[in-house]
Amino acid sequence: MQVNETNTVNTEEKEFTPLIVAFCCNWCSYAGADLAGSSRLSYPANVKIIRVPCSCRVNPLFILRAFQRGADGVILCGCHPGDCHYSTGNYYARRRMTLLFSMLDYLGIEKGRTRVEWVSAAEGAKFSATMNDFAATIHKLGPNRKLRDLRCEK
């Protein structure tokens, strides 16, 4: 959710709009996002979705890359446990992300910046609520400075 704070003149301290990457599995969560769209349930424009066949396709390297490139939060959405189109993909995703997120936490990427959510094709409202909530959380945490590729900084 957008929080309107007084804009300062200095562009460096311009209001912080977090950049969020959302990996969504094709069968449930991507369809849930479509439903949020067709139900006109809004969420911040800075959430950008990348479609993957299944949550288990998400390589930890994609998430590291996103943080390195300046993402402030990364969320992985898949089918509910037991509903994965490929039966067990989301179980692998869940285990992998548990490990990855604790390693990221150790590196200084707070746990709040990473999230796994199960959103079904029927849960447009949940999709939008999740994205709003996640964006608000990231907004509170502020910009990710820890994993940025310093060579990219101007």
């Binding site: 950049l19 990457v21 094709n26 991507y30 369809a31 996002a33 479509d34 949020a36 769209g37 067709s38 006109r40 349930l41 809004s42 969420y43 424009a45 800075n46 950008k48 979705i49 990348i50 479609r51 993957v52 066949p53 299944c54 288990c56 396709r57 998400v58 390589n59 930890p60 390297l61 994609f62 890359r65 996103a66 490139r69 300046g70 993402a71 189109h85 490929y86 039966s87 067990t88 993909g89 692998y92 992998r96 939008s128």
Partner: protein, 661 residues
């Protein structure tokens, strides 16, 4: 370098109202590879599609990005469009700027900015796309049905009717399943044998159906359209080609003391036996554990008796390997054995029986010739107590949590049949709920109560005790909160429906999934109820969940329709977005095969050319016809050898980069 064309759709005002489509087209023009960009009112319309086709030709495009509605909507449409203009259908990417953008953002500036980023991400991905070609595989026009109960028979008959060959593998000496043991059937009370045996005969006589009785599936390999199955034919010790089914051997066999499985152990059979008169095939089997010849090397009376010379003590187990296009699981169920339910004294009292045993006691071809007699003293029971939900709908570890679905109805049937045949018998049924959702089911149950005077008590039986040759049943009436003790001559337990014990090993062999109760899982609980999640494997009957006969038959036919749909195809096209392992990077660690839910990964010893160095390496090879393209293996691969076509690591990374700029 790619030559990419970008087409931005207005979708009428759906997109154009909140996204400046012209600005999006303008913004992507500078992106690598983009040689053309435009906007158009409706890309999916005839005019929009022609525009794409013409531009592909005029500009010599190698790939197309369409910024429009969700790919779930029109990806297939646009793939066909670009293919028609001569480029590979997988050289297309869609940026979802409607559902993910114009429909949820109100501010046009914000919407346009996001649409541009989504378009750039699609361009970045497309730059790394490669043409993909869907593989083709042939379809073996023969089906295998595992389990020859009413479900399997129905499925086989329907497939045969459509003109395809079907083999039935049945582990018992005869086909027919549990229905052969049932006396009369609810809700019509027609005799089970009268409706089942003609179907068994049809199956046996069909030119298209081949029955492997007393056989089991030993090994399954292959994939949809191309399964290779090894069937183990257990030795009957009787030559089926010679045997006439006269039964002379059974009459002469001196070993007569083996509990008769068909009659639920309520009487005995000989060592050489045919389970029941209408068995198919009507060829006896020798039970080697009971046969004197196998135990002592002597006897051999049957061999001397048989005028057809069919007895063959040297018969060996036979392995047959055949190819099938589709496999149907129809392994049915078994009623739970209530040995862990001490309170009902099933192990101790002969007069405490299960419902299936009761069916045999009421059946004219049963151990008592259809006269209802107590197993303990062969007297006629005057008071019968039925207990429902034994092992169903419970919380403890000996119970199943599910409802077995058929017990309410068959108990009403039993109660009615007893009252009909022996009006002087007092019948009480203890139930938790009476569930009768089926055509004419509630009427049937009400008839039991209203016309036949069966006492229904909502309550639980706490204990059954044997006192002086009769039974005392302690129970509670949940409606009046009374504790009661009833005298009974016989107690009948409606025990839970359990999947056949072979379900688990079979599921592993077929890479089909089962639920926590070992029932086979359907591909979708609502929309794909007769398919398993594994392509080419179908489900028929109670193996998928408790069902009565009408439902089993309906599902059996539905399953056949799906199988026929598959067998009617000459070739199958597979999804080309499949995994692929780089033979130079793979070290054959087999990590990937462990995560693949479809068994799509095999290992081969292959000669590779590693920068001029030729050597044989043990490496992973993905079977493209089996791989479903989930990508689980790509992430687990420690050497980075495994990648997914269409969603390659580089492609997804490129999208991440484009978004996080």
């Amino acid at each position: 370098m790619q030559k990419i064309g970008v087409f931005v759709c207005w979708c009428g005002s759906n997109i154009a109202a909140t996204v400046d489509v012209a600005a999006v087209a303008e913004a992507v023009k500078g992106e690598p590879g983009v040689v053309f960009a435009t906007d158009y009112q409706y890309m999916c319309s005839e005019g929009g599609q022609s525009l794409i086709k013409e531009t592909i030709k005029e500009q010599g495009l190698t790939g197309v990005v369409i910024c429009s509605c969700s790919p779930r909507m029109h990806e297939a449409t646009f793939r066909k469009t670009v293919e028609a203009a001569g480029i590979n259908p997988y050289m297309l990417e869609i940026a979802n700027i409607r559902e993910q953008c114009s429909w949820i953002h109100k501010n046009k500036e914000e919407g346009t900015e996001k649409a541009i980023i989504l378009a750039k991400a699609a361009v970045a991905k497309l730059n790394l796309n490669t043409p993909l070609i869907a593989g083709e595989s042939r379809v073996v026009k023969r089906a295998l049905v595992i389990g020859g109960g009413i479900a399997g028979i129905q499925t086989a008959l329907d497939i045969a009717e459509a003109g395809y060959e079907v083999d039935i593998v049945e582990k018992q000496p005869t086909i027919g399943g549990k229905m052969t043991q049932i006396d009369k059937t609810f809700p019509t009370l027609d005799c089970a044998a009268c409706i089942l045996t003609p179907k068994m005969v049809d199956a046996a006589q069909s030119e298209k159906i081949n029955i492997y009785s007393y056989s089991e599936v030993e090994k399954v390999s292959g994939f949809v359209g191309n399964f290779s199955v090894t069937i183990k034919k257990k030795p009957r010790y009787v030559n089926s080609d010679l045997c006439t089914g006269c039964g002379a051997c059974m009459e002469k066999c001196p070993s007569k003391k083996t509990p008769n499985e068909f009659n639920m152990g309520l009487d005995n059979r000989t060592a050489i036996y045919i389970p029941f008169a209408q068995a198919i095939p009507k060829v006896p089997v020798i039970d080697t554990a009971a046969c004197l010849h196998f135990k002592t090397g002597k006897c051999g009376i049957c061999q001397k008796t048989c005028s057809a010379n069919a007895i063959d003590f040297d018969q060996k187990e036979e392995l047959i390997t055949k190819e099938y296009g589709a496999i149907v699981v129809a392994t049915g169920f078994n009623p739970l054995k209530p040995t862990k339910f001490d309170e009902y004294q099933y192990n101790q009292c002969a007069d405490v029986v299960t419902s299936l045993e009761f069916e045999r006691l009421m059946n004219a071809a049963g151990p008592t010739k259809g006269v209802l007699l107590r197993p303990s003293d062969q007297s006629h029971p005057k008071k019968i107590v039925f207990v429902q939900c034994v092992g169903s709908r419970g919380q403890s570890c000996r119970d199943h949590s599910y409802c077995s679905k058929i017990c309410c109805m068959y108990t009403a049937k039993h109660a009615m049949l007893v009252r009909d045949k022996y009006p002087d018998t007092d019948v009480t049924v203890f139930y938790i709920d009476v569930r009768t959702p089926g055509k004419n089911f509630d009427e049937f149950y009400r008839r039991a109560v209203e016309e036949y005077g069966v006492h229904y008590i909502k309550g639980m039986v706490g204990k059954v005790e044997q006192v002086d040759g009769s039974l005392k049943v302690q129970a509670s009436d949940l409606l009046s909160n009374d504790q009661m003790v009833l005298d009974a001559d016989m107690v009948v337990l409606a025990t839970a429906v359990e999947p056949d014990p072979t379900a688990k090993s079979l599921a592993t062999m077929l890479t089909a999934s089962i639920d926590t109760n070992n029932f086979f899982t359907e591909a979708h609980p609502k929309l794909r109820p007769v398919e398993s999640p594994t392509a080419g494997v179908y489900l028929s009957g109670v193996c998928q969940g408790p069902k009565d006969i009408p439902e089993t038959v309906a599902q059996g036919s539905a399953c056949a329709a799906k199988v026929i749909g598959l067998l009617a195809k000459d070739k199958l096209l597979s999804n080309p977005c499949v995994a692929h392992s780089d033979e130079l990077l793979c070290n054959g660690c087999s990590t990937c095969a462990n995560v693949c839910a479809y068994g799509a990964i095999d290992y081969v010893d292959k000669e590779v050319n590693d920068h001029g160095k030729r050597e044989v390496r043990h490496i992973a090879v993905v079977n493209e016809a089996v791989c479903q393209g989930c990508g689980a293996c790509t992430v687990t691969c420690p050497s980075g050898a495994m990648d997914l076509k269409g969603f390659a690591n580089r492609q997804i990374m490129a999208e991440v980069d484009a978004i996080c700029k």
